[in-house]
């Protein structure tokens, strides 16, 4: 059942209101941060308040306005949207606390700008999550790109600006050309951009058109960081760590894969894609990215860059799951949106905490850091294990469903890919853990390497412990996300869940 | 053939004049000569208009009891307007040329181009 409700709009709007209030109270940092926290909490509550309805199998929708005939800005919260919305809005609360700790410890400049655009970015993320048609998605996709540009280039050093420019070139360039072309083509052929379980194309669309449109979509959504359009993600690592954490583990990249999943499941429909054989194509494309990105991650010494390449690889899991076009595959894909978000944000939080506490950025410098920052590194370790898929951590759940999906789809080579990538994950994550806990710290000339605990500010450590707990909890109680994921599958034609 | 060349001589004349004017606009570096070219170009069109208003055996379009046919006066009226326009254009062009002479010191196009390429300290 479809319920008209303004809650989606309010949930999106609340951080926009914050984005207005934040600059107004720029002279009073505490008040300013209050707005951020307040907005984050309200946003999460609003999103969460929709969960019961969604779990009941209903959707909440609201049509905001029509730009021109056929071009409407409308929202609909279904199970898929709710998964992403819950993840993003919950993690915003955590990140807000973490951010406050980070920028104050680092004494960053232009903090007002930072928090303002952060709030805008979150609105855009939820907007993309809740959109009812591809146009709305596109609109918020672009807003997200533009609003995160000042965050990526925040440091305003030459390097930061270059990184930010690369970021924008990739994201804006691909979306304004390929994605726009895909949109126009789809609208021209289908006459609508409305998401639906059956897809927009009726049966009478030529295979060529579907293929071209699909390829354009995949190329257009560079936020999903599929190779070779992944280059912006490592470049964007020049951003302050909380930005990398939320935006490049959750908001931006997840918007990317979310859009891909949307396109696969609700715009084209699995029927059309499997008929055109495009699912398999995407599976191979994603597999390629998974393996190659992991190989590159092995060679990165910069911690954040290694995490970035890990993200590139993990994002393709989500794409892969959807591309399998089987119930379990899609379930795994949807679950992985949430589970990877919790894991990866913990890792980034850890990297940021290490940076704040010791100003170290390289993996090779991390010898013995586990003894000095036990909480941070403990959480970090949990997250790495989840990434690899070790029980009892959440990573296993989504991987399990992915494997099942691959079996359902009868594409055995995918199992090989998943296996290899698990080994590679272990290959690039475990050395960090090993160094942190089992290698003795090298004494630097300054002799500042004293023993004892020397953690990052408490706000940051708390945040990352919270997300690490999430990683554990999601293994034991993935129910809400699992239920939602099942709903996504259940709504599909012929899908029993 | 005769019909094509002699019978339509007015068109040949206007086309020839037009091309002469056009040539001057393109080939002459002197700004005033260019304007003269433009004028010839426009005048050619005026001639064309006037010639299409002529009716065989017609007289001036003034009421006259012995007239059998009258020439068509409309093209004349139109071209009167066009002439005024042309005069205004020429006036504006001359005003511009005078100012160009004042500020560049020359009205030769190639010299002006050289001046623009090497910006010297101009009085403004």
């Amino acid at each position: 059942m479809d319920i008209t409700s303004t809650t989606p709009v309010l949930a999106i709007g609340v951080s926009l209101v914050a984005a207005i209030l934040i600059p107004l109270s720029r002279r009073r940092p505490n008040l300013r941060e209050t707005w951020t926290i307040l907005a984050a909490v309200i946003k999460f509550l609003l999103v969460a308040s929709m969960a019961p309805e969604v779990l009941r199998g209903n959707t909440l929708s609201f049509s905001l306005w029509t730009i021109a005939p056929g071009l409407s800005i409308a929202f609909r919260v279904d199970a898929l949207a709710e998964v992403f919305g819950l993840t993003a809005s919950f993690l915003w609360i955590v990140t807000s606390f973490y951010s406050i700790g980070y920028v104050r410890a680092e004494n960053e400049h232009a903090q007002t700008r930072y928090f303002t655009f952060f709030a805008v970015a979150l609105s855009a993320t939820l907007g993309a999550a809740f959109s009812a048609n591809m146009l709305t998605t596109f609109v918020f996709y672009e807003i997200l790109t533009l609003s995160t540009f000042p965050l990526v280039g925040h440091k305003q050093t030459t390097e930061a600006l270059q990184g930010a420019r690369k970021y924008l070139t990739y994201l804006l360039g691909t979306s304004l050309t390929f994605l726009m072309a895909a949109l126009v083509l789809t609208y021209h052929e289908a006459g609508t951009l409305e998401f639906g379980p059956e897809g927009v194309f009726g049966g009478n669309v030529s295979r060529t058109v579907v293929t071209v449109a699909f390829v354009l979509f995949i190329l257009g959504v560079a936020k999903a960081a599929m190779m070779p359009l992944h280059g912006w993600l490592p470049a964007a690592m020049v951003a302050p760590t909380p930005v990398s954490a939320l935006l490049h583990a959750v908001a931006v990249v997840k918007t990317g894969v979310f859009v891909v999943v949307r396109v696969v499941v609700h715009l084209f429909g699995i029927e059309v894609l499997s008929q055109a054989g495009l699912g398999t194509l995407l599976v191979w494309y994603a597999s390629f990215t998974i393996i190659v990105a992991s190989l590159i991650a092995l060679r990165q010494d910069n911690l954040k860059r290694r995490l970035a390449y890990s993200t590139v690889s993990q994002l393709s899991y989500i794409v892969l799951g959807a591309a399998l076009l089987t119930p379990s595959g899609i379930t795994g894909s949807v679950l992985h949106i949430a589970i990877h978000a919790f894991g990866k944000i913990t890792l980034f939080f850890g990297a940021g905490a290490i940076y704040v506490a010791t100003h170290k950025t390289l993996v090779s410098e991390l010898d013995g850091i586990g003894r000095r920052m036990p909480f941070t590194m403990g959480a970090f370790t949990l997250a790495t294990l989840s990434m690899i898929g070790v029980p009892p951590l959440a990573g296993l759940v989504s991987k399990w469903y992915l494997v099942q999906g691959a079996i359902e789809a009868d594409t055995w080579p995918v199992l090989l890919v998943l296996g290899t990538s698990t080994l590679l994950n272990a290959g690039y994550f475990l050395p960090i853990v090993y160094r942190a806990f089992f290698v003795a710290p090298t004494r630097s000339a300054g002799g500042r390497e004293e023993a004892g605990i020397h953690e990052a500010p408490v706000l940051m450590v708390t945040s990352l412990c919270v997300t690490a707990t999430g990683v554990v909890l999601l293994f034991f109680a993935p129910s809400i996300f699992l239920d939602l994921a099942r709903l996504v599958v259940g709504a599909l034609p012929g899908g029993a869940g | 053939m005769d019909e094509l060349i002699l019978g339509k001589y007015n068109y040949w004349v206007y086309v020839a004049l037009m091309m002469i004017g056009f040539y001057a606009v393109i080939a002459k570096p002197n700004l005033i000569k260019k304007i003269i070219g433009v004028n010839i170009f426009q005048t050619a069109v005026f001639l064309f208009y006037i010639s299409i208003g002529k009716v065989e055996g017609g007289t001036a379009p003034i009421v006259w009891d012995q007239a059998v046919h009258y020439d068509n006066p409309i093209p004349h009226v139109l071209i009167l307007t066009a002439i005024v326009v042309s005069v205004s254009t020429t006036a504006v062009a001359f005003a511009l040329i005078i100012k160009i002479k004042e500020r560049f010191g020359t009205i030769e196009e190639d010299q002006i181009r050289d001046l623009r390429r090497t910006p010297t300290g101009e009085e403004t």
């Binding site: - | 003034i62 009167l80 005024v84 006036a91 001359f94 005003a95 005078i98 004042e102």
Partner: protein, 146 residues
């Protein structure tokens, strides 16, 4: 400028007749060849002739710059005013039949008459302005943009 006596005398004699002819052409515009344009040019030419022979300063004394400036505007305003009058009197723009004369034919007559005067004034004033503006430059004097 000793030998100029002939030019000066002849000009003095000619100018009034030229102007009279100009007025004739302007006024005659509605019933025969001629009209505001032609008459205006002739009228302007008379002042230009005067200025050529007696020097531009003497010419400007006869027709000062503000006078030509105002006249060139006023001429157009006469034209526009008559058109607007027709409009205000409930008919179309420049539909002279609406003018308050008994005979619509006569109204057309007077309407065109007024129009021709307006056109003539403007054309003459503009001609004179163009002449003086161009002539001034040659003397290297203070320039006025126009």
């Amino acid at each position: 400028m000793g030998e100029n006596i002939i030019r000066r005398t002849i000009t003095r004699l000619m100018v009034p007749f030229i102007q009279l002819f100009a007025l004739y052409v302007i006024v005659h515009g509605d019933s025969g060849p001629g009209g505001g344009f032609q008459g205006g040019v002739i009228l302007g030419a008379s002042f230009i002739l005067y200025a050529i022979v007696f020097g531009s300063e003497a010419g400007r004394r006869r027709v000062p710059a503000p006078v030509t400036d105002v006249l060139s505007s006023v001429g157009v305003l006469i034209y526009a005013g008559i058109g607007l009058l027709c409009l205000l009197l409930g008919s179309a723009f420049l539909d002279y039949r609406a003018l308050p004369f008994k005979d619509p034919h006569l109204a057309g007559h007077y309407g065109i008459f007024g129009i021709e005067i307006g056109v003539g004034l403007t054309v003459a004033a503009v001609m004179v302005t163009i002449f003086f503006e161009t002539a001034h430059r040659g003397e290297g004097g203070e320039t006025r943009d126009g």
